[in-house]
Point group: D2
Chain length 342, copies 4
């Protein structure tokens, strides 16, 4: 029996979410999200965001949500800015480029786009010569938590938002792991902050208690025209939209989304303390549920026999960067078993 620390989607769904599907299974409703579960879930999300006029849509997965939002908000000839470590830049198999748009990269600092680098990029473009021959930076994509598990501060997010508004481009926040970001140690950005500062973002379900599903929230009226049709065109309109609606309705009842996220942070905290104590070195310091650790290759091969984790890449000939991830579903007994192996 292997210990699974490779990602935060190794189990299906929080039991309360699955139970909701069982309970509503044979209730007949219309398709494509025109159902009372979706309506209720949207309203709960608007309330949680303090954003009563937001447009909310449910998509199935993260890559799909990213490609659909980005391609429909960009105009032809525009690209999306992202950190060079951004998920869309590296790990979505070119899904954004497949829609005809370039991902324009900015060197990351701890997985983040800094306000300074963003402003420099945009100023250089808008004062440069010959920009007719270049891709227009038409949108900013950030992830929170980032691909390195790091978090934007409220100060950073505020500055980034202001720069985007100065240059009149939308700010899109990928919240695939948003729940974990909200409850991480030292987190000072709330869901309401995000709704207020971003033009569009999504609340990740797949990695935070749902069977599948991401809730895309357009906060300020910039919803692309005929967005449901565009979702259909992307193959991203689920026939049984009610499956997504019922899940998010459950996750946003009694603060379940936030409450179940805490387990990931608590188990990660214990694990990180153990790594430190036993002399392991972190590749990057992350306050959320992803831990990047440098293993000597001997340890790597020893651990691989009992534990599933992700290999990030070689550091040098003898060392490898690996990732351990906790989730809403991580069992403390598995954490202890892993610690015993370190």
């Amino acid at each position: 029996m292997m210990l699974h620390f490779e990602n935060d989607y190794s189990e299906i769904a929080h039991p309360a979410v699955l139970q909701r599907l069982v309970e509503t299974n044979l209730v007949s409703v219309s398709g494509y999200g025109n159902d009372p579960y979706c309506e209720s879930a949207k309203e709960r999300i608007r309330t949680a965001c303090s954003c009563p006029n937001a447009d909310v849509y449910f998509l199935v997965g993260g890559t799909q949500a990213n490609a659909t939002v980005i391609s429909t908000m960009l105009r032809q000839g525009e690209g999306v800015l992202a950190a060079d470590t951004g998920h869309i830049a590296d790990h979505e198999a070119g899904a954004v480029e497949y829609t005809g748009h370039k991902v324009l990269t900015i060197p990351h600092v701890n997985g983040k786009v800094t306000p300074e680098a963003l402003q420099a990029y945009l100023r250089a473009f808008h004062t440069g010569a010959n920009t007719d021959h270049m891709v227009y930076p038409g949108m900013l994509y950030i992830s929170h938590p980032t691909e390195y598990g790091t978090l934007y501060t409220k100060q950073e997010l505020t500055e980034i938002s202001a720069i985007c508004r100065e240059h009149e481009i939308p700010l899109f926040l990928d919240g695939a792991r948003l729940g974990y970001g909200l409850v991480s140690d030292g987190a000072d950005v709330t869901l309401q902050d995000i709704a207020g500062l971003c033009d569009v973002f999504y609340i990740g379900g797949t990695k935070v208690g749902a069977l599948c599903g991401e809730a895309v929230v357009f906060t300020r009226g910039g919803t692309p025209r005929r967005f449901v049709s565009l979702m259909k065109q992307h193959g991203a309109l689920l026939a049984k939209g009610r499956v997504l609606g019922a899940q998010f309705d459950t996750l946003f009842t009694d603060d379940l989304y936030v409450q179940i996220s805490k387990n990931a942070i608590e188990t990660a905290r214990i694990l990180k303390a153990a790594f430190s104590e036993k002399g392991y070195r972190f590749y990057i310091d992350s306050p959320s549920n992803q831990m990047f650790v440098v293993l000597d290759n001997e340890t790597l091969h020893r651990l691989e026999k009992d534990v599933v984790f992700s290999v990030w890449g070689p550091e040098d000939e003898n060392h490898t960067i690996v990732r351990f991830v906790t989730a809403w579903s991580t069992r403390m007994e598995d954490v202890q078993a892993l610690i015993a192996l370190l």
Copy 2:
């Protein structure tokens, strides 16, 4: 309480399918379809198809499956042939064109492509002048049952397959409602026939007992290179592939897929008899679970108060073509209640 006859995806999933998800919920497995449920389901599907070397992949929905299969099997500059009533031609919001490929239409006969029309199209193209300026017909798409609920005969499918092989283009069968097609009155095409005659097809789950999911089967070694990566690029690679695997594994255990399909045909048979008896006129004669009925507009408005069904379009000023659909989940009591209203 409305009676739902608008489609075959008004409920979530067959209870046995949902139960399987509940039972396996907290078992930790790897993502993206690298899990024992997918492996088992693929093997069961290969067996059911008598196609031991088939490549099987699980996608989330029909439009996504169509766009992904078509765009990855076509080369640049090629289009896909389809009946002008084909789902990809009319009702997928241009999803195929969005991938850069034209849908080349052939006039339908009862929702079907006839072997004669297909051969004529291909012969004309391949003997014509100036075809460098035209889109190359690089694939044939058919649906079975069709969008009108009709079925190909084994003879027709055999002829169509032979024509495709003569012209060296793949034959793709959209089986979104395949289960119903296999058990319809007079159906003479089996799953094994389809696997033997088509290059690729999919077994619809969304409309036949699954929460979501379509099983794409490449039967003859023509699987596009790096297909998993291409699914990812299309936003069609589910993180929790095991959710799809577990469902198809259940549906292909003890012939469940076929057994639950019968309910749709039995309830449709009773309903069709009632329509006929009460003097309603069918727009098209369908042996499967979709019924196309011509209503005078007064009846239309009366029925709409208690029954949900689809409006297909006006026949003339006073008559409208509507569609009633049954499913694995249709309750006989609802059928009787509808009949009482006719």
Copy 3:
């Protein structure tokens, strides 16, 4: 020595146009259309159109102009309406679909879209159910003269324009052979009419005296944002834009464009009279420079020995529809030689 009647681009350019290139050959100017020849040509075109605020751009060829204009004026999820005989529907190798947009076809009448059919299509769409699953008709494409050499009347064009404005979609006129349309027998649509009734159109150079080049005219302020950059993205921004500018500047000096077009109509008139006199049957009656004639196959094979013309397709087993075309450059002696062969 074959007689060439296959198209209207068998020679390079009107001598005055080529002479202009020779004269300005070694004058050094900036690239990409930022030169005095383009400026002058644009101004002359605005004047000829009585459209002082029009935006004018020079592209190299017709397919390129069509794909660039259509893809940049449509939003994602929208398609372009066209007659089913429209050049973009059949003879551009899927160039529009390659940009991700569907060509939505309307059955033609003599190669034209009728106002009635257009209105019916748009009304049906906008009052229909389930249009989220369909491609939005976002633009109308017509050609003038059409692919069959026929012409819109001013009345027809006025009605079509009004319908487009009612539904708030742009009207795009492909004028690849516009010069010939302006001087055809019975033509009652002027360049100013077109500029007043269309949102965008192009004045064909390739087929009317230029070496290459089409002048795209946005008449009413709907020019896509950053259009030069979008041309570049399409590979449609000529480095030596001045080559296009100098040609159109010459063609729009002293009414040259219109004057040289007359030769095509005069030679066609004589040829048509000869066809009629000798008992040939026309497939369609065209007032401009394209003639569609039905040949028995014996005559076809006899003529092919001395004359180059286009085969349009079989009419029946023994007859073939062929096309003869005249141009600004057609020599009367060649016309007489062809007549002698009939």
Copy 4:
């Protein structure tokens, strides 16, 4: 009267090229490259390349040639590798991404891809984990001369070619300025070397004596199926293909292409000597016809009054990198006039 040193396309065409168009102007030939001029030009190019079986096609411009070749040679899901300074990466307005393919960048060394960096990238990809989620490196794009005017050595090109063949990806060389590269001081790569080591390359006409046109050469049988149709789909098939054919036929008669290139190198040599002598600093050392010079901003503004050149970007607050370019058409008197101003 300004002195033009901004690029190598400020004049139209070498007089002999233009003269050929004048001479053949009214000869009637078929369209789309099916003419004797194209045939003859192709044969001359095959001979010049010592590549008797090469497939040769004529396209209009460089961005168009790059996008058409790259998109038709890549499979879906594949990207093209290029130096981060490569023209396709930065200065083609996202034309490659518009076709759905990512440009994968490798840090340049003097504008070049080094064999070491290429091998490292490909080895890392092919031994890496999780590459299903990444874009497959399916082709290498290099330019020769590069965007910085530098040249590959025969040794480098040989090693790069071997690495591409080891990993079974085509090597594509953008020769927009190829003529200048062949005659630069110290150049040791011949046209025959390029034909032998690359899978596809193009011989630039636009910047080397033609009015427009690039000759794409597939050297080893990898020509995409139905390439003419794919050119049409890209809007890259010129109706009057003969205009391109006649130009290249002239350029490849009596070694004209190479002979006229020498003027650019000779004038550049004199100019570079003058820059050095007068104490100007080069940003990068280039042996071909592009010179990158660092100007203090005072000098920049002074020179701008009389000379047209390109601003590359700021070096620091007080200095700017600019580019001067010579060409086949550069007049020695203009060089002397520029030197007098330095």
